[in-house]
Every structure is written in structure tokens, then in C-alpha cells.
Amino acid sequence: MFPNPLTIPALVLVPLICGAASLMIRSDYLRRIVLISAAAIHLFFAVTSGHAPAVLSGWLALDALGQLFLCIVSVLFLIASIYGVGYLAREKGTAKQGLFDAELGTLLVNSPESLLTGCLLFFLSAMTLVCVSNHLGLLWVAIEATTLASAPMIYFHHRRQSLEAAWKYLLICSIGIALALFGNFLLAVSTSTVHGGELPLLLDQLLRNASSFHPQWLKPAFIFLLVGYGTKMGLAPLHTWLPDAHSESPSFVSALLSGALLNCAFLGILRAQQILTAAGLAFFGQELLVGFGLLSMGFAAAFIVQQPDYKRMLAYSSVEHMGILALGVGLGGTAVFGAMFHAVNHSLTKGMLFLIAGNILSVMRTKTASDIRGLSRLIPFTAALWMAGFLAITGSPPFGTFLSEFTILKSALEQGHYIVAIAYLLILSVVFIAMASIIVRMVQGNPLRNPEPRASREPWLMILPPLFLCMLIVILGLYMPPALERLLLDAATVIGGAS
């Protein structure tokens, strides 16, 4: 594929323009077509974006790391939006009958569909900007923009709880990101020791000159960036917004929040780690990442045990997997490759699980796991995928997650971090048992009640997208495509992991 100078602008602008357009389009069908085609065009440009030339005098550029995260975002967005179209059509049907909320005693009215579609596309545009930013200030602006674009989507159902979740999300993430801005300023001050005055915050220039930065400014800069972007990524103990937001938003939005957005925030931390590594302070950042990683895994495991709400269970599982990513990068060496591979696997698996959770929710109308029995008789395809997704997310052998989690473990053992390795294994097994006891009970047994006529339960538009994701994860577990392997290796090299 020869380089196309329009690739990067198109990636950012296509969803932006389509988003603005879909706010104005009246017809639901036309708007849904715009959504899907924007997602498809985005995916085309994302896959062919290798060696795309930098634009805006180097402000927007793609390296292997950015491209990897961009591809994850794009694949997941297309699949989630196909599912979302089916979801919105269904939602419109039920909205006509009127959905009565017993708790509130009023009729629930969703946000207009045009607002949701518009926000989805703005969200895609903002996440793309995160991936292609080569300027740390611009990266900050883009990450804050993802918060603003996604907050209205969490409030789509206009329930009290979704309002609470959206409020917490917006406030906590905005505060976190304000701290990251402080980190950016500190970083800028640390560059003032470079001969010839301060540098612009362009990533490649920073990396080239990092060895002469002032370490006493660089270290606090990293801490602020880690805490700030870590809030958005869902690292404990600043993850408190995450389970609320992920459990209250419509399921395909949760899939995007968990599979795409958290990765984008992680990218912010990885950029900071890149600069530390170039400045010869890699060890300082790695220790912090290992600490935060294990802490997040531990917190998440504690909340997954006996979790009554199955969507919250998935949300805490995201906290756990973000911990695994941080841990992998913190360990360095081959674990960095494992972490990059795990980012791909986690996004696909968690996307699939949230979509399946959406199917279960729309049939059973409850998020309480103990109220659900006998899914395998009521909705057999969904139940099978739910089980498969459970096995995949806990890292069982035929799936890609097994390989990536194993790579990280192996690297920890090779480097002699035995305590880290034991804690890692222990937490993974606790999570496996806890999730098994919740999910197996939901799938097996006799149904407690028969909610809806069988015909309308599993439309193909709600089965095919998660099925496709499931197949991708199985394929990644059995065969690594050479193009992906190259991309993962390049991305790992960018962060400083040996291959």
C-alpha cells in the first residue's frame, strides 16, 4: 500500500462530518446508513494507514503504537455500530409501547436517536485523534474530547441511575484529566534544560532530546500524567466512575467504552513512558506501572467476587484487564509484546461480552444475575456465546487471551519477579472462579419465567456481531497473522520492550 497523504485527515474528519450531519438528518434509516458507512470508511483507512505521511507539520502522525490502537478502535466501532443499529430499531419498537419504570413510576423517554448517533461519531473522531496525535497537548485535548462526547451516551436511557453514572463519569474524568494537563506543563518545564530553550511538545522531538531533560521535573510530570490518564483508563483506586458508567450505558456503548476508550487513555500513559525510557528513567515508570497494575487487578477481583449485577461484573473485569496491561508494560521485555497482544484480545473479548450482555438484558429485562436462570433454554445462541466469552475473558486455552496472559506470566518468571507472578496467577484464578459461579448459574437450570415469544428473542443482528468477535478471538488463539505480529512487535519496540 503506497502512502496516501489524505489518510490521517480522512480518519479524523470523516466521522466528525458524518456526526455533525447525523445530528441534522431526520430519517432514522438514512442516519443509520450514515453511521455504518462512516464506520466502514474509517476501518478501510485505518487498516491501510501504514506509513501514512505526517500532516500539520508533524502534529498528526502515526507510529506502530498509534496504528495498533487505531485498528482496535476501528474494528470494534464498526461491529458495535452494526449491533447498535439493531439495538436502536428494537429500542424504538419498545419505546412506542412505552417502557414503564417501576422504580421511578414514570414512562422512560430515551434521548433522541440523532443525538446518540452524533455523539457516537464524534466519539470515534476524538478517539482517532488520540491515536494519531504526535503532540502531547493535542493528545490531552483529544482525550478530554472523548469524555465529553461519551457522557451524553451514558445518559441515553434517562434513568436516574444513568444520570448519576454520567455525572460521576464527567466529573471524575474531568478532574483526572485536569491533573494530566498539569503533568503536560511539568513536562514542558523539564525540557527547558535542553540547549536552545524549551521544545514544542512534539513527541519525536521530545524523544530525540529526552536525555538532557531535567529529571526532577520529569518524574513529577510522569506521576501526574499517570494519575490523570490512569483515572480515565480505570486504574485503581481512581476507577470508581467505571463500573457505574459501563453498567448504565446502552450495551454497545459499554462495549466501546471498555474496548476502545480505556485503550486510548492507556495510550496517553504509554507516551509518557516512552519519554521516560528515552530519558533513561524507564525503571521509575515501570515500577509505578507494576504497582498500579497489581493494585487494579486486586481491587477488581475483590469486587467481582459475589457481584450481583452481571454488567458491573464485566466492568470490574475491565479494571482487572487494564491492570494486566499496565503490569505487562511495567515488567518490560517480552511482557510488553504480551501486553500489546492482550490489548487486542481484551478489546475484542470485552466488546463481545458487553454485546451479549445487551442481548440478555433486552430479553430478561434485569441486570441482577441471581434473577436469571436457564439461559441455555431461553436463548441458546446467546447463552453459548456468553459461556464462550466467559472462557475467553478468563484466559482459557483456545482463545487469544490465553496466549497473551501466558506471555506476560512467562516474562515475569524469566525476569525473576516471582512474587509478582504469584500474585498475578492468584488474582487470575480468583477471578476465574468468581466469574464462573456467576455465569454458569445464569446459563444452566430451568428458566424462572418466560419473558417473550421465542421468535423475537434473538434477531440475527444481535447475534452475528458478537459471534464474529468470538471467531476473531479464537483465530488469534490459534494463528497469528504475520501482519498483526509485525505491528505488535513494532508497537512493543516503540515502548521499549525487547522482542
Binding site: E144, T147, L148, W167, L170, L171, S174, A178, Q307
Partner: protein
């Protein structure tokens, strides 16, 4: 002149801590926004004047006028005019403020400085406002007061940026301002929704999502 602005910025922080009337808090914030906007003018760096004037006009316009206007509207619509019952009273809050101030100057004196004493003052003022913002978010109940706290924190971070004349391009500065503007705009809409569906904007009662 610049020192005077820094002193005023500290004073606005204290006024903000000690006031329970939301309208007064919003006005204090507006004053802070205008003071902030003036800093780049007084520094007289070598930067291009067009860039400076654009920054000054936009940041005063947004932080000094647009945001206070939106906040006042949100306050009227939600019909909450007073922070009734903070977790920590207003007089103890002032004491916490004094502790924050001492802490900020101590921290600022410990950082390695490259040239004059001026940035040291700026860092202390900046940290002070960050601490005040965080404290207000934690210790007050009303959703609107928490937004005000967020803005004080944001102002604190911004002081650091302008005081060091950190080499941030205009486009990024504008992006930052735009983000803050949209954030407050969305928060204002949500406060209205919260007051509509809960009959109050006390965030300590937004607690159905736990565990």
C-alpha cells in the same frame, strides 16, 4: 503588578472557600478568570503580540464571562442558591485553606528552580488553587459547587502554564479552553436534569450505584 495579581488570586481562593452563596462563588470565579487572562499581557515575553491578544481576549471571554453566565443560568434553573450544609463548615474550610497555602509555598520552595523567584510564587499560587479546588469538590454537597471547584482546579493548572510561559502553541491553548467550555456546558445541562428528576442537586444522595 504581576505579584499583585498572584496575591489577588490567593485571596479569591479564600473568598471562594468561605462563601456559601452560589452566586457569590460564581462571581469570584469570574474575577479569577479575568485575573488569569491578564497574566500573559503583563509578562511581556517575546511572543508574537497577535497570539497574546487572541489568548487574552478568548480566555477572559470564556473564563470571565461565558462560563459564569452559563453557571448562573444553571443555578437559576435548578433553583438552588445556597450551599446549605457542607460536610465541613465554612470557618474550618478557611483553616484548611491556610494549611493548603502553607503547603503550597513549602512544596514550591522545594522544587528545583531554574532562574528567578517569580515562578516560585506562581507555582505556589497554582498549587494553592489546585488544592482549594480539590477540597471544595470533596467537601461540598451541591453538584453546582463541585463544578465551581473543578473550575478553580482548572484555573490553578492554567496559572502554572501561563506563569512559566510554557511553550504551548495557540491551537492547543484554544483546544484546552474549548474543552473546559464544553465540559461546563454539559455539566450545566446535567445539573438541570438532576434537579428535575431528583428535586435537588445534592450529590451525596446520588448513591444508588455502589459496589
Amino acid at each position: 503588578m504581576l505579584d499583585m495579581i498572584f496575591v489577588l488570586l490567593i485571596l479569591t481562593g479564600f473568598v471562594f472557600l468561605g462563601s456559601g452563596r452560589l452566586q457569590f462563588g460564581i462571581r469570584t470565579l469570574a474575577v479569577q478568570g479575568i485575573l488569569l487572562g491578564l497574566i500573559p499581557l503583563l509578562e511581556g515575553g517575546s511572543a508574537w503580540w497577535g497570539r497574546i491578544s487572541a489568548l487574552v481576549i478568548l480566555s477572559i471571554g470564556i473564563k470571565g464571562f461565558a462560563l459564569p453566565y452559563f453557571l448562573t443560568r444553571a443555578m437559576r434553573k435548578s433553583n438552588v442558591l445556597h450551599e446549605d450544609n457542607p460536610f465541613l463548615g465554612f470557618t474550618p474550610s478557611m483553616l484548611v485553606g491556610i494549611l493548603c497555602l502553607g503547603g503550597s509555598f513549602w512544596l514550591a520552595s522545594r522544587l528545583p528552580f531554574l532562574d528567578s523567584s517569580q515562578p516560585q510564587m506562581a507555582v505556589a499560587v497554582s498549587l494553592f488553587n489546585v488544592f482549594v479546588g480539590l477540597f471544595v469538590i470533596i467537601s461540598r454537597r451541591k453538584a453546582l459547587t463541585q463544578v465551581l471547584g473543578y473550575l478553580v482546579l482548572e484555573n490553578g493548572v492554567y496559572i502554572f502554564g501561563v506563569a512559566f510561559t510554557v511553550n504551548v502553541p495557540l491551537l492547543v491553548e484554544l483546544g484546552v479552553l474549548l474543552d473546559v467550555f464544553v465540559a461546563v456546558f454539559v455539566m450545566g445541562i446535567m445539573i438541570f436534569h438532576i434537579s428535575k428528576s431528583f428535586d435537588h442537586i445534592d450529590t451525596d444522595q446520588l448513591s444508588s450505584l455502589v459496589g
